[in-house]
Symmetry: C2
Subunit: 345 residues, 2 copies
Amino acid sequence: MTMPKTTITITDVAKAAGVSKSAVSYALNGKPGVSDATRAKVLDVARSMGWKPNNAAKSLSDASTRTIGVVQLVDDAENFGAGMFAMDCLAGLCQVLDPRDYSITLRMTAGGAHAACRIHEEWIASGAVDAHLIMGVELGDPRLALFRAHPEAKAVFLSQRAVTKGLPTLYSSDDEGARMVVRYLHGLGHRNIARIAGPEEYVHTITRDQATADECSKLGMRCTTLHGKYLAAVGEQLCLALLEFGDSPTAIVCDTDVTAVAAARAAIARGVSVPGDLSIVAWDDSPSCTSATPKLTALHRDVRSIGVKAGSMLLRMIDGESVDSEPEDPYQLIERDSTAPVSEA
Amino acid sequence: MTMPKTTITITDVAKAAGVSKSAVSYALNGKPGVSDATRAKVLDVARSMGWKPNNAAKSLSDASTRTIGVVQLVDDAENFGAGMFAMDCLAGLCQVLDPRDYSITLRMTAGGAHAACRIHEEWIASGAVDAHLIMGVELGDPRLALFRAHPEAKAVFLSQRAVTKGLPTLYSSDDEGARMVVRYLHGLGHRNIARIAGPEEYVHTITRDQATADECSKLGMRCTTLHGKYLAAVGEQLCLALLEFGDSPTAIVCDTDVTAVAAARAAIARGVSVPGDLSIVAWDDSPSCTSATPKLTALHRDVRSIGVKAGSMLLRMIDGESVDSEPEDPYQLIERDSTAPVSEA
DNA sequence: CTGAAAGCGCTTACAG
DNA sequence: CTGAAAGCGCTTACAG
């Protein structure tokens, strides 16, 4: 008959151990102020009574919640890639948070950056979290202004420094990644390439666009860029559009695995050989890149390590250190079967 | 100069409004005990002062955390499908939780059911969450015993009633789904089918195995079942194994999109036409099913609605209602290009 | 309808 | 080293 024992508190432990509440608190928290003997006894009694600290009480008295807040933006249609990214990233975050006994407080909203902003504002005002992780930052994002107005709130942004200007951010290697792809294709002899990019409201889209354009111009290459959502239909359609051009590209880099797979399919269905006539590279690797025919060359990054880095930054901020922006780990170009030297025409 | 105003409390509001703390509390919480005039004034003052309730204080005094706890199991390798499922499910959960101002407290662990169990135990003891959502239940899962021993803890399981026996569970329609597929293939003339199933520790694997076997026997069909992880390599390998048999199946149903896509690829690479010689159906639809060639017939379910249902159950438990187990919405069979009538041999 | 008071469980100066 | 006490911000009986 395991009686659901009415929650046991430090007062109970103190009584049982024959010491004061403060002694118990000091002992339990490993703080000085009690003799080793007392500490040992308290620890022993507490464990045997099955005592666990009450979260709310602790938070109220020490003004720390041991939780970091993240609000995930969900889009009905293109949720897939973003969802996986967030999940892996959170896994990394949890990995660093766990040893410190921190949890994630998660909210999801379909209301975009504005809705997310309201939640963070709420969290700041109510002291619901110790720090915030911000992902999916858009141009003119209201969350930027919010955290500028609240320098006392701890937050790290997953974004670009050009956008967050001074706010602690873990910035992507998208610029570098874009240049790496361009150089790779250049090495294969491609001179006329194209991008099937993501929506232009995303910061990383712009970053990739610009870096690609810049590197192409340096190498004397031409690049056509088309934008669209991360949908198979879009990849298909834009690929066909590119192939319609009189002077169609010999390589296409797609901003996501979904569009890349679709583009490859569309090209092949139209009688264009991949990689014979057309090389395709996917930005962001995933199982669908290896399941596709041919297997897609992809720009790969360890998403979990992004969460790990962000978590470490957050924890340091919570510890009172001042943290600077940091770069993500660089991308890796994984060469598979969808890219080849440009064919002699 | 937006001074980060030192956190404002109901005491401040009370002072400013010229009433007592209790009056403020009653007014703010919409409880009787204050005149309409007082209430209006308090509300007004509170808003103008930018007051927000302190979470910890509220939790401590009313013993509710306005948070529901979920711990996500992460496996390094086969994390993909499960990750997406969890994400969509959580999105649904958030959708119902949001209007009630509840958040999700999320932890992720690579330590399996045992590690998850320890976290839930911690949460129960420390009063960290108001209720728990349990996913990825295994046979002999320690979390079952934990919540049996703690009937005061509110939890809903995403599992099968046969496993949770009496604990409130949102149970899948896997049995029904399996039968639906079998009948569908039977209707196409298939009599010898196979399953490329998931690992046998998963409850849903067993459920599907059993329902498939039962329905096949009822219809006089034969079914070979092979188990393996949710990896492309496994799908490929098991598909080839099945095709090696002298009397190879005319249809294969794969427990996940990853294995299904890989199986189709492997078959085609081996010169087996899909769906001409071999039909393939994927369990759990995803973008990769529509990106594949041919597009895969799949068993589809609205994962988000699972989260919605679970959330509603949880909320009702929190409200003190006693809730019974409920079924998920049924699967839908989405016919695409990977299934066809069995060819006359 | 309204105010003064106790209590939620823990932490932390402050005296012994 | 140890105990008594105040305080974190809110809720909720309990008297007026």
